[in-house]
């Protein structure tokens, strides 16, 4: 796409991640922001991507079982008692 051509909504939704990652070149970033300023649908879309990221961040991680933790702790205790090298 030419540097001075305004972006369409269809193009915006493909650039959202690059925008949020800060990896858009300056010119494209300016076009992206100009589009956003004029387009409520794309502002909503960007906000939804942010909400998606925030919600994903609330998922819990898998934890070690107490048994597995005990095995590793024992291994670490053994390691402590071994001579270095």
């Amino acid at each position: 796409m030419k540097a001075d051509t305004p972006l369409t909504c269809k193009e915006i939704v493909e650039l959202v991640t690059d925008y949020l990652e800060g990896s858009l070149p300056d010119e494209q970033r300016a076009l992206f922001e100009a589009h956003l300023a004029a387009c409520r649908g794309c502002r909503t879309y960007l906000e939804q991507m942010r909400q998606t990221i925030a919600l994903t961040g609330r998922l819990t991680e898998e934890w070690l079982t107490p048994e597995a933790e005990q095995v590793l702790l024992n291994a670490y205790k053994d390691w402590k008692n071994m001579p270095e090298g």
Partner: protein, 213 residues
Amino acid sequence: MGTGALAETEKDLLAALQRGDEAAFLSLVNQHHSAMLRVCRLFVNDLAAAEEVVQDTWLAALESLHRFEGRSSLKTWLYAILTNKAKTRGVRESRSLPFSALEAEPAVDPERFHPKGQAWAGHWAEKPRPWERVLESQALSNELLAHVQAAIENLPESQRTVISLRDIEGWTSAEVCNILDLSETNQRVLLHRARSKVRRALEVYFDAKAGRT
């Protein structure tokens, strides 16, 4: 990351580990367990086998802990051990990571935009509807989070791993690229596809909640 010296906090952590601080060791093990399993499962299909590989990784790390001088970050070091072990163990070794990166896959159904040749071509025909009101009414319900979880589980493996490491485990893009051996562009494409699909799944959910489908 990279080749620089360890950050102060990492130096302290390494010193604690090397002098036998059990609490420091357990906290490190727990901090990385979930991400290690995710990375491991790129190579090892079976969960029980992946858990064994993670376990083996810690044992191998202990064997060389005295010799580790902190020229790379602890994280780089640990995950290098992990990926080596996982690849050796993995039945799926021949697979390389960015296998789904190159097919075209639009972030949003093309039907949502005005078609080519018309006025407003490429602009929203059906705009996304804001989620604020539904989000307020049931912020962080278990049902909502289960829905996010399911959307992530349905992703192709490489996309699932990248979004999980970035958005659940909080890794930087540099860490993901380095540890998974991905180019920055591929990492971004995988993240983009993954986030776009999770957004779409949430949109379906929220629209249903708001009584419109």
